[in-house]
Amino acid sequence: MRQLGLLSAVLLLSWQASVADNATFNITDHEGKVVVLDFWASWCVPCRRSFPWLNEMHAKYGDDGLVIIGVNLDQEQSEAEAFLQEFPAQFQIHYDESKALATQYEVVAMPSSYVLGPDGEVLKRHYGFKVKKQEEYEAAIVAALEKLK
């Protein structure tokens, strides 16, 4: 299981999502949980469309062991914060300044989301975001959550 740095605790105000500082991200922090890593950037239009759905997933499965982390890949952190002002995120945001995480998960499109099982293994990969495919994305999460039971 690849060793990754420690994710600093992210204090999330319900209405003001602040962007976590850029400590490296550590999957072991979420041992025993299903993690969805969603790579996004403020200038990417489909990413903007995926936020309402990610909020809904967080609200729906948050207490069943789902952790959604929006990994921001903007060049400037200020651009991400301006975006979050207008499109608030209920889930955690991590600012991948060095882009190490994006390179490690070989992000090939924007947005890209990875459903990680309890042991951090990548169960499902989605590139781009299609409103029509929301049920499909949700099914992948539900299937992963089954593993926790």
Partner: protein
């Protein structure tokens, strides 16, 4: 005529070599996503120019399909 031959070869080279090495990571497309960086920023101006030059010169198109559709040349 030599110049045009040389230019044609240059372009062909450009096409072949353009593929592999160059490019950016998906998260480095912020500049390319800007409105003014699209290949055609003003569709109406482009269509207008294509049409004017189609009716005043013997060449047409290049960017897309020729400006045609009139008896104006």
């Amino acid at each position: 005529m030599i110049i045009s031959r040389f230019v044609a070869v240059l372009l062909a080279l450009g096409i072949l070599s353009g593929c592999s090495s160059m490019g950016v990571e998906p998260w480095e497309r912020d500049v390319l996503a800007k409105e003014e960086m699209q290949l055609t920023t003003d569709a109406i101006e482009a269509a207008t120019d294509d049409h004017i030059y189609f009716s005043k010169e013997a060449s047409s198109g290049g960017r897309g399909f020729g400006g045609g559709g009139c008896g104006c040349n």
